[in-house]
């Protein structure tokens, strides 16, 4: 599994992420949360080599990530970003199947895997022939998820996957995503800035601020035993406002 040992990343003298130790627990969902610019995306990037650590190291199955090992490691880590990051010149199916094609999968294996994933993500099968520009935001996100799942990876990394969706679509997709994570038993790292989403998904949470870990633990730990006044402030700031009486 994936392990970070004192891994850190600086830009100039500024620490985008201070040295961090972390080991992913198989089958669990880890949520990384914090305000904008806290280092969430940097942490995720360290995990799949999009960001190079300038201190410490990142190991995948005990082997440090390096130019020689990164390709194989990435193929075992699905990655989903906001809006899906789809390739606009390929159809939905083309996006999902791209890596399998490069790896030389036979056509019928690709086709059956595509159908399987479309069912799993509630994506209409005839939509596989459409181009990203012809899909809705929620559909793009489903395609992005299918693409990440195509090779049945060990780990799923998701960077604000639902950040750009309207509330109803977001609500439905949250449910579907959690079902998928549970049914497939995937190890998941999900980045969000939304505390309720974090609470919904998390087996454990890491709260970051200015590139440093403020607290790690379960949702209950953060709520009931905040390590720092900032934790309480961060949680309270996201409480629905009609509960505290300040809503008009």
């Amino acid at each position: 599994m994936l392990r970070l040992e004192q891994a850190a990343r600086h830009y100039g003298v500024v620490a985008a992420l201070a040295p961090i130790d972390l080991e992913l627990e198989p089958g669990h969902t880890l949520v990384v949360i914090g305000p904008s610019g806290c280092g969430k995306t940097t942490l995720l990037g360290l995990m799949n080599g999009l960001v190079q650590p300038d201190r410490g190291r990142v190991l995948f199955d005990g082997v440090p990530l390096s130019p020689a090992t990164i390709k194989a490691a990435r193929q075992r880590m699905g990655y989903v970003i906001q809006d899906g990051g789809l390739f606009p010149h390929l159809t939905a199916g083309g996006n999902v199947a791209l890596l399998a094609r490069v790896l030389g999968w036979p056509r019928n294996r690709i086709d059956s895997r595509l159908r399987e994933l479309a069912r799993l993500t509630h994506f209409p099968e005839d939509g596989l022939d459409r181009y990203p520009l012809e899909l809705s935001g929620g559909q793009c996100q489903r395609v992005g998820l299918m693409r990440a799942l195509m090779l049945d990876p060990d780990i799923l990394l998701l960077d604000e996957p639902l950040g750009a969706l309207d509330p109803l679509v977001r609500f439905d997709l949250q449910n579907e995503l959690r079902d998928i994570f549970r049914s497939l038993g995937k190890t998941v790292v999900l980045v969000t800035h939304d505390m309720s989403e974090a609470a919904f998904f998390a087996d454990s949470i890491i709260l970051l601020r200015d590139g440093s870990v403020v607290q790690r633990g379960s949702t209950a730990d953060l709520m009931e035993r905040p390590a720092d006044p900032f934790v309480t402030r961060f949680i309270n700031a996201q409480r629905a406002r009609w509960h505290d009486g300040t809503a008009p």
């Binding site: 990164i70 880590m77 809006d83 010149h89």
Partner: protein
């Protein structure tokens, strides 16, 4: 003895039966003004009458181009003037007279034939009417009229024996000096845009337009005796041809040359007919049928010109695509090299087309090859820059997605980055192609043919119809290329990108 006799007989038979030596091949060059073309035609006709296979590369771009081509051996002979040799091409040698000139040329493997009989000196002229009103008869008189507008051919304007020297010798102060094509300068003079211009003493226009030739009262201009300048190896390779050239010695005086010029420029006769008629009358040289006679019908001229033009543009563009796209990719992959690559192709682009063509001659000679090389260099920038820009411009989330997927560099390029950059790359190729169609017309200056040939001849003969015969097809071809690429875009650019920015999500 029994063996030797038949052997000797056989040897004798072989000697007798061996075919005559293959005809010598002679390439004649001429400059892009009528007198030079007529003299070139004469040299070609004489060489042909002496049994040589002759090619006449007419209307090459200027003294430097012909001189370099002769030194390289791309041409064997061209008409030149002693004054030009002494005062311009070999100015640094300070050659006192023509005898010394012959010795200097011999050191370079060149031979100057005997003078043809006329001195086509540079001269300064004005419309008779203007000269009379201002009271100007000599070059010295120009000093009293500093307001005059001067218009000089670009060669004269810059040559050591041209305007710079003249200005210094006579102490002229006119500030309003324009450079323009010699043949167009006459139009400017008649229209009143310029008042004083440089002349060649045998120009047909002097009589025709009533131009007063100002007396060179300080004796500034050297003599410009017309000669045929040829390579020394011609004497060995084709002695009969050299002998035929010598028959022209002293046979053309100034009046005769001016008349020949007028027959072409004012009476519309062809260079070849004028040259042939003169040779028949003066030297009783019969016209030998030749293979590259002027085709008369428009379509018969247009066909080969179109083919030449397409070959120039097509080959140079294809080579540029093969080189420039990888250059653009390299500039993208290796950021350090990238700036260097883009800077170099950018600098190439700033070299003026004519200068680039002239630079090519010492390397590649004259003809289509150096022209294609120059066009190739010009095509590099738009294609390289657009390839680079297309790749660099790919949105960061897409680049990251491709990386995170675990694709190698090659797969990322082929499957993601190049398809996404395709519209810009294609636009770069289109730009290069359209520019090439236009720039290729300059190729005629170094003997590459194409539509530029008609334009050059048209300018020389002041024949607007002929200019259009080159200019219109070139413009049409540029449009065809433009639309062709827009059509090609549909097949090259992935459909997912063509859905376009206007398509809203459902």
């Amino acid at each position: 003895m029994r063996i030797i006799v038949p052997l000797a007989l056989a040897a004798a038979l072989v000697v007798v039966a061996s075919p005559p030596a293959p005809a010598a091949e002679v390439t004649v060059g001429s400059k892009k003004f009528t007198e030079s073309v007529i003299l070139g035609e004469m040299a070609a006709l004489l060489a042909r009458s002496a049994g040589a296979e002759v090619r006449h590369r007419r209307e090459l771009g200027g003294t430097r181009i012909l001189w370099n081509a002769l030194v390289r051996g791309d041409i064997d002979v061209y008409p030149e003037y002693t004054g030009t040799l002494r005062a311009e091409i070999l100015a640094r040698e300070n050659i006192p007279d023509d005898r010394a000139l012959a010795a200097v040329l011999a050191r370079r493997g060149l031979v100057m034939g005997p003078p043809l009989g006329f001195n086509n000196s540079y001269a300064i002229g004005m419309l008779e009417r203007t000269a009379r009103e201002r009271g100007i008869a000599t070059v010295s008189d120009l000093r009293r009229h500093p307001d005059l507008v001067l218009g000089f051919g670009s060669e004269f304007l810059n040559r050591a024996d041209g305007w710079p020297g003249l200005k210094a010798r006579y102490g002229l102060t006119q500030g309003n000096v324009r450079g323009l094509d010699h043949d167009l300068a006459y139009r400017g003079l008649v229209a009143g845009d310029i008042e004083v211009m440089d002349l060649y003493a045998t120009d047909a226009e002097i009589d025709y337009y009533g131009i007063r030739v100002l007396r060179d009262d300080l004796g500034y201009f050297p003599t410009y005796d017309a000669v045929l300048l040829y390579r020394a190896d011609l004497v060995r390779r084709a002695p009969a041809v050299v002998h035929a050239f010598e028959r022209l010695a002293g046979r053309i005086d100034s009046t005769a040359m001016a008349k020949l010029n007028a027959q072409v420029k004012k009476e519309g006769k062809s260079d070849r007919d004028v040259a042939a008629t003169f040779l028949r009358a003066a030297l009783t040289v019969g016209t030998v049928p030749d293979h590259d006679a002027d085709p008369m019908q428009l379509w018969r001229r247009l066909g080969p010109a179109t083919l030449e033009h397409l070959v120039l543009v097509g080959i140079s563009l294809a080579a540029a695509i093969v080189v420039a796209i990888p250059l653009g990719i390299a500039a993208y992959l290796f950021r350090g090299v990238g700036h260097g690559v883009l800077a170099v192709v950018g600098i190439v682009q700033t070299i003026p087309a004519l200068a680039l063509l002239v630079f090519m001659i010492p390397l590649l000679g004259i003809g289509a090859v150096p022209a294609m090389a120059a066009l190739f260099l010009y095509s590099l920038l738009p294609i390289t820059r657009n390839t680079h820009a297309g790749l660099v411009g790919i949105a960061e989330p897409i680049r990251q997605s491709a990386l995170a997927l675990g694709l190698g560099t090659g797969d990322r390029l082929l499957r993601i980055e190049l398809p996404l950059a395709a519209p810009l790359i294609l636009a770069g190729i289109k730009t290069a192609a359209v520019i090439n169609v236009g720039t290729a017309t300059l190729g005629a200056l170094i003997g590459a043919g194409g539509y530029g040939q008609a334009i050059l001849t048209g300018i020389r003969l002041d024949d607007v119809g002929l200019i259009l015969e080159g200019a219109i097809p070139a413009a049409v071809l540029a449009l065809v290329v433009q639309y062709g690429f827009e059509w090609a875009e549909r097949s090259v650019v992935p459909r997912g990108l063509r859905l376009g920015k206007g398509t809203a999500r459902p």
